[in-house]
């Protein structure tokens, strides 16, 4: 099974190394991206970091922030390359110069069919389709095991009268 490494920072937040580019992978640059389960979009990054990536602006969108406010950001299409897996989606570009972080959101997790597993020992990204196949095989094995054990064991009747010779 292919498990991809996820780093944890000092606060326990998961980070992955990604490459991001627009019209051509010759523009690709590598970033440490925070996997932010509180972000419903695909990828969020500062506009200043995005300028050299060859992204084509397409849209604007409003973002609801955790403090109740709303901001308008630009959106461009681009590709995320995560350990060779390329996923295309809408990248939001933060214009606030104080924001420096690159955030991976839930839309990327869904689109790339990943599963983020966090535990005390660390974190990994798993391929959701592989996990689904494992779950199907495990269920089949369990059903086969149940069927085999019911063939070997006689059925015990819950009828008390049959167990009592008197």
């Amino acid at each position: 099974m292919s498990a991809k490494e996820v780093s944890l920072n000092n606060n326990g937040h998961p980070y992955i190394k990604i490459k991001v580019y627009g019209i051509s992978d010759s523009f690709a640059q590598e970033f440490d991206a925070l996997v932010d389960t509180g972000f419903t979009g695909f990828l969020h990054m500062p506009l200043t970091l995005a300028l050299p990536l060859g992204l084509t602006l397409l849209s604007t969108a409003n973002y609801s922030i955790g403090d109740g406010s709303t901001v308008s950001n630009l959106i461009a299409f681009g590709t995320i390359d995560y350990e060779g897996q390329k996923t295309f989606g809408p990248i939001s570009l933060e214009q606030n110069p104080q924001c420096r972080d690159v955030l991976i959101g839930m839309e990327y997790i869904h689109q790339s069919k990943h599963m983020l597993v966090l535990c005390e020992a660390g974190a990994v990204m798993l391929d959701m389709e592989e996990m689904a196949q494992i779950a199907i095989k495990a269920r089949e094995a369990l059903e086969q095991s149940k069927a085999a054990s019911s063939e070997k064991s006689p059925t015990i009747s819950p009828n008390v009268e049959n167990q009592n010779p008197n």
Partner: protein, 93 residues
Amino acid sequence: MNAPFSDPKAIAEAGETIYRDMYQKDFEQNQRGKFVAINVKAKTATLGDTASDALLAAQKADPHGVFHLIRVGFTGAFQLSRHQRVSQGSLAK
């Protein structure tokens, strides 16, 4: 930056106005949770199950269009909890 996008706030406001005046009532009854790309020049709306679906379909229909993305029934197209933000400088290897 592309000239049409030099004022993103104006595009967003135009998109919100078009949506509110022409589409909101109908979409909030029938398309809740879907994404809609508003073409602010043509005043058309393109729906999709995801942000990518809506924007790609809208771009296909008008390759030179300028769009504003909305999620039907939501204040913002996306939610972002900034309290989780941390500096990249604290990344532990």
